[in-house]
């Protein structure tokens, strides 16, 4: 049976792993290659490296950091941040990524999704969606959560799937870094709207939050950063708890 995935996310700024709260107040959490290897040893099913200031700083993804992180990592490795066009994606694959995550650039030009998928396969394309709840909908934000687009997150997820993305990485901006639980309403709405895997992100604080997002939220995978970096939750221990709660996970790893 297919298991639910636990994904460790490394937010990177200037080549260092950092973690903020609601996309702000960044704290240093270490070297990306070391963090990735340590998470994989502890049982992370995948590693995501997001160059969170590449888009806002108007520069390309730090390929050196991608290369050194990929070197000794033998679990799936996704890289996002600063991928604006096809050539940027190709360079990131060349540096050792298995998948790329695109956010702002895909919103600006959805055909970028199909272009990258046509060359590297749908399985290699993850569309990252940052969404914040408004009175009437979940609104899509771009540029690391800085710019509102007016777009509805569920509609955008559907469109991205139609363009050929292989997975959706869905972040609740309201919950990001708060450790107050995933937004199961948002996750479930998107998971039921598309037929591709949905990775829930934003708000992980305890094993209970993961159980909830896999059962109530219908997520295929859940991603977290801060709880793993600062040792609040050990991935191996988390997977044991999920296993005991009847959630199918890769356990023992």
């Amino acid at each position: 049976m297919l298991t639910k995935r636990i994904i460790a996310c490394l937010d990177m700024d200037g080549g260092r792993v950092v973690k903020g709260v609601r996309f702000k107040n960044l704290r240093d959490a270490g070297d990306p290659a070391e963090c990735a290897a340590s998470h994989a040893r502890n049982g992370a099913d995948e590693i995501v490296l997001l160059d969170i200031t590449a888009t806002s700083g108007n520069r390309n993804t730090l390929l050196g950091a991608v290369r050194s992180t990929a070197r000794s990592l033998f679990v799936p490795f996704t890289v996002g941040g600063g991928i604006r066009q096809f050539e940027d994606a190709a360079a990131v694959f060349d540096a050792g990524a298995d998948k790329i995550a695109i956010n702002s650039a895909a919103v600006r030009d959805p055909s970028l999704i199909s272009k990258i998928a046509a060359r590297f396969g749908s399985q290699a394309v993850v569309v990252a969606i940052d969404a914040r709840k408004t009175d009437t909908k979940f609104e899509v934000f771009v540029a690391g959560g800085r710019i509102p687009t007016g777009q509805d997150a569920i509609q955008w997820a559907r469109q991205a799937a139609d363009c050929g993305t292989g997975e959706i990485l869905l972040t609740s901006m309201d919950r990001d870094g708060t450790q107050s639980g995933f937004d199961c309403t948002l996750v479930r709405a998107v998971a039921e709207a598309v037929s591709i895997p949905v990775i829930a992100s934003g708000g992980a604080g305890s094993a209970h939050d993961f159980i909830e997002v896999f059962s109530d939220g219908r997520a295929d995978a859940a991603l977290a950063a801060s709880i793993f970096h600062f040792g609040i939750e050990n991935i191996a221990q988390l997977k044991r708890e999920l296993h005991e709660a009847g959630i199918l996970v890769r356990w023992p790893c």
Binding site: M1, L2, T3, K4, R5, A40, D45, A70, R71, S72, F74, V75, P76, F93, D94, G96, D98, A118, F120, G121, S122, Q123, A124, G166, E167, S195, I196, P197, D220, A221, R250, C253
Partner: protein, 198 residues
């Protein structure tokens, strides 16, 4: 020397990196002459079945068929394993090698496609490639089409139905999952391939 066939498939580097890590001498090549001198062949792959059309253009298809029929240990990974069959519903214009009978098909509508993530192996019979791999070990998958179960199936996986996770017949080996992305289990499988003598 292990030749990793380059036909533009996305995950070449991951496969090369895994062999490097194991201390095996591996080269990435798109030259039929190099295949002729290699001891073992790896046909990697991920993505669309149509990308295999690149093999048709430079004599690579013939070189691969020759290596396979000549008894060289040959490992197809993901799309590379699907190529060992007659073809795929994904792209009917491209023929596979036809070493194994049957076509690769889509998953039933009852499950999400692509099949992405870690799933368990049910080992069906003794296998050189899966030597010392524990029953129910987890491996990483990412694919939308699957190969049928048949006599050479050495391991199966369940996702909406049972499909061939690994096939093995004489010098020909195939895995639908990605050993290069399956942690220690995957590295052990690649190590077994390095040690296979046919």
């Amino acid at each position: 020397m292990i030749a990793i066939v380059d036909y533009g498939a996305g995950n070449l580097r991951s496969v090369k990196k895994a062999f490097d890590h194991l201390g095996a001498q591996a080269v990435v090549t798109d030259q039929p002459e190099i295949l002729a001198t290699a001891d073992k062949i790896v046909l990697p792959g991920v993505g669309h079945f149509s990308s295999l059309s690149a093999l048709e253009t430079n004599g690579m298809r013939e070189a691969l068929l020759q290596a396979a029929s000549g008894g060289k240990p040959f490992l197809g990974i993901c799309l590379g394993m699907q190529w060992l069959f007659e073809g795929s519903e994904e792209c009917t214009e491209i023929s596979g090698a036809g070493i194994f009978p049957g076509k690769c098909r889509q998953f039933p509508a009852s499950v999400k496609s692509p099949h992405v993530g870690w799933n368990s192996l049910t080992i069906q019979k003794s296998s050189r490639l899966l030597r010392d791999i524990a029953q129910d070990s987890f491996v990483y998958y990412t694919h939308s089409f699957h190969a049928p179960l048949l006599a050479p199936t050495s391991a199966s996986t369940e996702y909406g139905l049972l499909f061939s996770a690994a096939v093995e017949q004489e010098n020909i080996f195939g895995v639908q999952f990605h050993p290069e992305k399956s942690g220690d289990v995957g590295l052990s499988i690649l190590k077994n391939f390095c040690e296979v003598v046919c």
